[in-house]
Amino acid sequence: MRRVDALGVAGVEVGFPYSDSIADGPVIQTSFTRALERNLKVDEVFRTIAEVRRTVTMPLVAMVSFSIVTRIGVDRFFERASAAGFDGLIMADLSLEEAPRVAEQAAARHLRLIMLTAPTSSAERRERIARIATGFIYYMSVAGTTGERDRLPDDLIDNVRQLREIGRKPVVVGFGISRPEHVRSVCSVADGVIVGSAIVRRMLDVVDAGGDECAVADAVEACVRDLLTGLP
């Protein structure tokens, strides 16, 4: 993370593994399954982040299922996330319907609540989501699960432009983004992109080939450098 921070990325999303993650495609699922097989606990994620936080200045966002948050206790989880040094939260399974109370609890712990919008969201919902979101609005480029895609949908640019006008908040695009040319076209209208599976897949590849932690970090840095070339 220190090396990625040095490259000037805007922040890192840290995934808490979950046994039944509905919104995730095969790559993120595999990473979750492996982490859980090695018995990775919520406590350890918080401990690691607290440690990393001492030397890393970029924003850190927790990507976590609301199932885990509910189980730990919403306020207790937020308190611990805040204490560990997280700046915000992304909970893909927290719908707009369930979000209002949670938003207050996040605000009380000084955490940004990043809300997701989809290509299937109506204009009215996009507006309500934009109102409740803090930090930025996460636009899912496709209706589906996380994972790399060759092509991004044609309506993406228009939808993002519209969302920026409605929300008057930064719009960041995720799902399917895996190449510098994706970064280039999306960043012509969006405030940023989120890349998950493309990076995690390279990490898994290195681990599968017997690489150590250093080799994993090398692969991540190379991948991020490559993606950054797409920035205008």
Binding site: S19, I22, L94, L96, P119, T120, R125, M140
Partner: protein, 409 residues
């Protein structure tokens, strides 16, 4: 017997509230991508619920195609053997495809058509809901795909072949524990990418609102019929209604029309498995705690970190680490009581029903029988118990033979 609306003289099923909550339970914990389709379903069902033509069409299929009403049968020899309360069986095992599941799949398939969608998907554990969905899709001309855990595909080859005969594509799910909960995850993931033209026919009273309400409503035909039938036979309501609970659809269907009849005791029987140690049972209400799973806030079997725990039951249909939110609410209100029967008690009850009544029950339904084996002898002879015999046991014969140490097939 008419079932042209959801009314009985005890009223229509109550709840959930406008937020999809049964008390504290229920809600909608799903990715934003699905919310459009979920609202479309809410709107379409609200219209259908008040449309007599919808119920007339559904009732037509239930009667002429699925074989309803199902009989309420007085189990004389079982009653004699147990030596206490009179035991009636609501014979859902006699429905087309062999279980109560068809009540729901026909209803949701008709809703699919109303929404102008052409494809349905479903999850299945033992294969009963998969077969019932494949059947409804075939008769209504819908494209159908069923997700089934790879482990279950191996154990339930016959049901896989039945679905294929019915023109359905069965996809083995290799993720997680490769059983029912993983099949649900995969069906949800499919739906995320296919919502525009696909409806997800959830098989139980679970998932995000409005599914628990819709599935309950379609299954209340069981309780509405049973209520009328017992009144005709006994001139009064039963003292007990007993049903097995996995996700809880057959129990909800039997219980809901009796909820306002507070003298009728309602008992849900969960899968006690081998014992009460974590991972060796599927008794969510008995041993679990409230949490979020598959889009709903309800009782779940999770570890301290919120990870879903492995479950076990002799019956694949009860092998689920969550339960419908309305059951969680009935438990908290003490309107229904939830107990667990072990694999062994279930196997004994399975054999007892075969021998005394000539009925081979599904292992799921045998859990309800197993509890009545304990309950009936403690009650006076003028009391009555209605068991929901939710399915027939042909599908379980190979597994039971194996457990009894016999080799067949």
């Amino acid at each position: 017997m008419s079932s042209t609306s959801l009314d009985t003289d005890a009223g229509t099923p109550a709840g959930p509230d406008s937020h999809g909550r049964f008390g504290a339970f229920g809600g909608q914990y799903v990715p934003e991508t699905l919310m459009g389709a979920i609202h479309q379903l809410e709107d379409e069902y609200a219209k259908a619920r008040n449309d007599p033509a919808f119920w007339t069409e559904l009732d037509g299929y239930l009667k002429d195609y699925a074989g309803r009403p199902s009989p309420l049968y007085l189990a004389r020899r079982l009653t004699e053997r147990l030596g206490g309360a009179k035991v009636y069986l609501k014979r859902e095992d006699l429905n087309h495809t062999g279980a109560h599941k068809i009540n729901n799949t026909l209803g949701q398939a008709l809703l699919t058509r109303r929404m102008g969608k052409r494809r349905v998907i479903a999850e299945t554990g033992a294969g009963q809901h998969g077969v019932a969905t494949a059947t409804a899709a075939a008769v209504l001309g819908l494209e159908c795909l069923v997700y089934m855990g790879a482990e279950d595909v191996r154990r339930q080859k016959l049901n896989v072949f039945r679905m294929e005969l019915l023109g359905t594509h069965v996809v083995p799910v290799e993720s997680g524990q490769k059983t029912l909960k993983d099949a649900i995850n995969e069906a949800m993931r499919d739906w995320l990418g296919s919502v525009e033209h696909t409806h997800y026919i959830i098989g139980s009273v679970m998932g995000p609102h409005p599914f628990p309400m819709i599935v309950r409503d379609f299954q209340t035909v069981i309780g509405r019929e049973a209520r009328q039938q017992i009144l005709e036979r006994e001139g009064r309501l039963p003292d007990y209604c007993v049903a097995c609970v996995g996700g809880g659809s057959n129990a909800a269907g039997l219980f809901a029309p009796f909820i306002a009849d507070t003298d009728v005791k309602l008992i849900g029987v969960e899968a006690g498995g081998e014992d009460m140690k974590p991972g060796r049972h599927a008794a969510t209400l008995a041993y679990g705690e409230p949490g979020v799973l598959h889009g709903m806030y309800t009782y779940v079997l999770q570890d301290a970190d919120g990870q879903t725990m492995p479950v076990h039951s002799v019956s694949a249909g009860l092998d689920y680490p969550g339960v419908g939110p309305e059951h969680s609410s009935w438990k908290e209100q003490h309107r229904a009581e939830y107990v667990a029967c072990t694999d062994q008690e279930t196997l004994d009850a399975f054999q007892l029903l075969c021998e005394t009544e000539g009925i081979i029950p599904a292992l799921e339904s045998a859990h309800a029988v197993a509890h009545v084996v304990k309950l009936a002898p403690t009650l006076p002879k003028d009391q009555t118990i209605v068991i929901n015999l939710s399915g027939r046991g042909d599908k379980d014969c190979v597994e039971v033979a194996r457990l009894l140490g016999r080799q067949i097939g």
